[in-house]
Structures are given as structure tokens and as C-alpha cells.
Amino acid sequence: MEQKGGWTIIVNEYGMTIDVLLDLYMSLCDSTTSKKINLTDLGKAIEKQLKSTYEISYDKLCYTTGNIKNGLDYLPTKKYVRPVVKHVQVHIKLHQRIIYHINQKLGNEHLVDVRDANKLIGLYGKVNKIGGTEIYLKETFIPSIIKGLDKNTIPHEFGHSLGLYHVDEPWVWIKSMREQWNIQKMIKNKTNIMYGGGGVYLNDRTSTTITPEQMNIIIENYKLGRLNLG
């Protein structure tokens, strides 16, 4: 049976609580010539860092609608819209699998592929596209990711796979208005994961957080079919 893969985002509402589950099927591959990457340790580091970044809780303003019965027959009932603050709790669940060649990746399963340094010259890593299913990491930086010295690269690249853009690039507003941050917003969110390479606040150790607004964008991206793209 074809394994279900890629991101699935399940949103469940219970009264005043909203539970969000980010569920990911992924495979890990060492495509380097030396084959010295400890994929088990890398998998553990990925799980730890993604949980640390994405398992957030926050309050969200929602609107509930209902009907007020008039009480008299034949008279229409009144509709109302009432603002309510609901508590959002995000969980992340990873289903990891080690593969020995990228051809073994199943269906829409995500791929984390460690590549030789000469295949990613000048880069740390990249995603095949925004909302894409393939994440490439340069072997040079794997030890610091596993040791926890670099806590940004993994959540940042997975952020792209969840459809997030860099918040400090000049033309982001064309693609996503809410992800074009002004200086004040950057100062308020200095530890955000989605700063681009030239970002003044980008730091491998401290750029590890996302905002509730970015989480809402991720959920919207999933609903709009902007994730799990080839």
C-alpha cells in the first residue's frame, strides 16, 4: 500500500481550545560519497528542533456565529457574530524512515537529503521550492546541527517546506503581504527562524521561534493546497 506522505495538518476545535497537529512523513538519505552521516542522530536532532520551534501555544481571536430565536412564529430569527478568544495548541508528529537512495522515497513523502559540499557550493541547504517536499542539507553543517549548535537551519528549511517566506526580503509582499515585516516587527521578533541569509538578526543558535501569525499562515497554506508540492 502506498504510504501516506508529506505534511498533513489537522485542526480540531473543542470549545475554547484549538488543537493543531502538524503531521509529517519523511525519509532521510545520505547522498554523500563518504556515507559517514549518522542519519539516526540527524533524525533525532530534526525532531527535537522542530518540536522546540513549532510546538507553540497562543490565543487566537475567532468569530462565532449563531441565531437568536425571535420567539414569535413567522418572524425571522436574528443572526449574530461574536468575537471569542480561543487557545491554540500546536503539536508536531514526525514519521521518519532512513533510505539508501533518493529513488526509495515514497509518493509524497518528504525527503531530507544530505549532499556533498560540492553539490551545494556557497549554501547551507535549500528546499526544492516554497512548499516543496525536498530539503537538501550540506554535509559540512550536519555535525553542528546534531550537536545543537545550529538550531536554525532545520526549522528554517522546514519553514520553507511549510510555505513560509523570508520576512526580511524586499519583494516578499508580492507573494505574501503578511510576511513582509517592517523594522518594528523585526525588533519585536528578533529570534524568528525565517530571516534570510542577509538578515541582521539571523543567528544559528538563537533564531529558533515562529510567531502565531506564521502558524496561521502555515495552516492556511495547507488548506489552500500550497504544501506537499513536488
Partner: protein, 91 residues
């Protein structure tokens, strides 16, 4: 050879379309965007840059490649004008 407006504009338009098709746009997802046809004259990324091999990546604007691309554009313009004069203008 005389240069005419219509074939020249058409040549520029075709050249721009080919350049866009030939270019890759991966900067937003931390890869490189490579602009230029037939040679890349601009290479940039929005992602983190590895300082250890930044010299090998040849990031930035490449003037000599740009001039060579412009030379190819001139060939396009000449070719389109040649076809225009030789075959289309008479009809």
C-alpha cells in the same frame, strides 16, 4: 543593413522570454537564482551563504557574461531584421 522597429522589438521580446525560460529562480527557497541567456550574468540567493566556499559560488553580477549576452541579443536583432527584409517585407 537597415534596422526596423518591428523585428527589433520582436527580437528583444523573444530574447527576454528565452532568458526567463533559461533562468532558474530558487533564491526564495535558499538556492540560487541564475539569470541570463546563454550565460548567467546575475547569480544571487536569499539563503544563508557558506563563507568557506563563497569564492567558488561566483555570486553577484558578472559584467563580461552580461556583455556576451548583449552580443547574442545583437545577433538576434540582426537575424530578425535579416528575415524581415529578406522574406517578410516584400510580402
Amino acid at each position: 543593413m537597415s534596422i526596423y522597429t518591428k523585428p527589433t522589438l520582436l527580437a528583444i521580446a523573444v530574447f527576454i522570454v528565452i532568458t526567463l525560460i533559461y533562468s532558474t529562480f530558487e533564491a526564495e527557497s535558499d538556492g540560487f537564482s541564475l539569470i541570463g541567456f546563454p550565460l548567467t550574468f546575475n547569480k544571487y540567493t536569499e539563503g544563508k551563504i557558506d563563507p568557506s566556499d563563497i569564492g567558488l559560488a561566483h555570486i553577484g553580477f558578472n559584467t563580461s557574461n552580461f556583455l556576451l549576452d548583449m552580443l547574442v541579443l545583437l545577433v538576434f536583432i540582426w537575424g530578425f531584421n535579416f528575415i524581415w527584409i529578406k522574406f517578410l517585407k516584400k510580402t
